[in-house]
């Protein structure tokens, strides 16, 4: 009586085995599954609970889990949150533009003019990025400070009487520090897109009589735009949420939205409000990024 089920089971088993061996996709996903499951779970679970908590409220030391939009109402009504978010977007946007502009010639140089020891150049350009973010920001504080390296240096050289005050504790200081900290994120994508450009296209442009400037504008720049777009997003998105740099070199005028979020989870101890602010920040940044991608895609389509 038991024979048929066993046989069925066996054939199913062998069929599965055959499928497993035949299908690359199944084998690929099996191999990928540990990484994918861990990463998907480790990202989805925290985000789900973050969003959920943003609809709760904090009462002294208790958290009320009744659904409410009060935090979002407060986030929209409170002028300070809006002002901080706009300032963060502005600082990060400026920083993304500045970093891409100063990094482009560097990436261009290594892609087109360095022929030997390219690897060493690439490592040199990206090396500081891997070292402690905190320490790099801290060294800027040391440099830009009221009695810091620049001011005391210029003073001892007799070039200035009073310390330059705009250096530390200003949005400018935040932009300089962020541009320095994130330069590698700009250089690498731009470099990769420049390196991919078929050199014969440039030769062709030269043969057809285009000068260096024209062929740069008509060939090199359009073809490297994907790298530029990636670079600007790779800088814009994470820097909106930075709070170390504003804390160390920003001063009161350089405080950003992430400082506010951090305070909610620290001193103020209103986690649901902090969660709501974090969600607002994510949504706004995601929307801006999507619009940016859409607009730039339309633009590149028109050029091509």
């Amino acid at each position: 009586m038991t024979a048929p089920p066993v046989k069925l089971h066996k054939s199913w088993n062998s069929r599965l085995r055959a499928l497993f061996i035949r299908s690359e996709a199944v084998r690929g996903y099996t191999l990928l599954s540990p990484t994918l499951i861990v990463m998907a779970f480790a990202m989805c679970a925290p985000f789900a609970i973050l969003v959920t908590m943003s609809f709760w409220t904090q009462h002294a030391f208790e958290i009320d889990t009744a659904f409410t939009l009060r935090n979002y109402q407060a986030a929209i009504d409170g002028p300070i949150y809006k002002a901080l978010l706009i300032r963060s977007l502005w600082i990060s946007g400026t920083c993304a533009i500045v970093t891409v502009l100063v990094s482009y010639p560097m990436a261009y140089y290594v892609a087109f003019h360095v022929h030997r020891r390219k690897l060493v150049w690439i490592i040199l350009m990206t090396l500081p990025f891997w070292t402690s973010y905190l320490l790099r920001v801290f060294s800027w504080k040391v440099i830009l400070g009221y009695n810091g390296a620049i001011n005391s240096g210029l003073k001892s050289l007799g070039l200035i009487e009073q310390p330059l005050e705009f250096l530390l504790y200003s949005p400018t200081a935040v932009v300089i520090t962020l541009a320095h900290a994130w330069a590698a994120f700009a250089i690498l994508p731009i470099y990769v897109s420049l390196e991919k450009i078929d050199r014969s296209l440039l030769e062709a442009a030269a043969d057809l009589g285009d000068g260096p400037v024209v062929s740069f504008l008509r060939v090199t720049l359009p073809l490297s735009l994907p790298g530029v777009i990636a670079a600007s997003l790779l800088i814009f998105i994470p820097t909106v949420g930075d709070y170390i740099t504003p804390t160390l070199v920003g001063g009161p005028d350089g405080i950003m939205i992430a400082n506010m979020i951090q305070v909610q989870f620290g001193r103020v101890n209103d986690w649901p409000m902090g969660a709501a602010l974090a969600v607002c920040m994510m949504v706004v940044v995601a929307l801006i990024s999507l619009i940016y991608i859409w607009v730039t895609r339309k633009m590149t389509e028109r050029i091509a």
């Binding site: 990928l32 040199l124 500081p128 160390l248 979020i261 974090a278």
Partner: protein, 272 residues
Amino acid sequence: MKSATYVERSNRPLRTYAMLFLAFLYVPVLFLPLFSFNDSLYVTFPLKAFTTKWYAQMLANEPMHAALMNSIRVGAASALFATILGVFGAKAVTRYRMPGRKPVVFTIMLPLVIPGIIMGVALLILMSRLGIPLSLYTVTLGHVLICVPFSMATLIARFEGFDKSMEEAAADLGDNAWWAFWRVTFPIVFPGILASLLLCFTISFDEFIMAFFLSSTEPTLPIYIWGQLRFPQKLPGVIALGSVILVVSFVVVFVSQWLRGRGVAQIPGEGR
């Protein structure tokens, strides 16, 4: 030799710019070692006498040693777990043609672009709702999450130049999949794995934001430094410690990147 057009010709202004750019990248960081030997509580020019007393002070600092050990433990564990996950992921996406490969890789790479504070607070809330107390384990979890994308990227670069016919040859010669991996794939990708381990260790060792939200009473080194920044009289000690960390990080990362790049260049037809 090819006739040199302006494309190939060397460009002096651009070269100068490149040098200035490198200076911009490195000079700010070099101020820390410079002032770490300065015999003054204040970080100002002109420099005072040369001293090594800040380093002596640092060596005698017990809480700093504890924080250092914490960071090393977290860094080693994060590097190991992230690299194991990275090997599975990189092997899968380079070895097999899979539908939906792009969105999957994108998902795994997401922590690269998510602001650190979002990941930090999200994990913090999760831990507190699950009733898991904050410890070095939670910090390690956070660090694994941000290290996996870097490990994957490092390993994919290494695996992509890998000729899968070699593995198939091993399989034809009777090795099972595990042995084929161990005897053929592993020796070839070993530099990549080493590069990934070193890189992940450095990232975790220097990471601040996740550790800030996910650590409790046992600080990692960056958290310890953050705590010291409030006290002006501790500043020179922090600068000395920072200089050591910077120098060590630079060396470790240089070795890691060099291993990775050299490995790729050695495979015929890969790299330039």
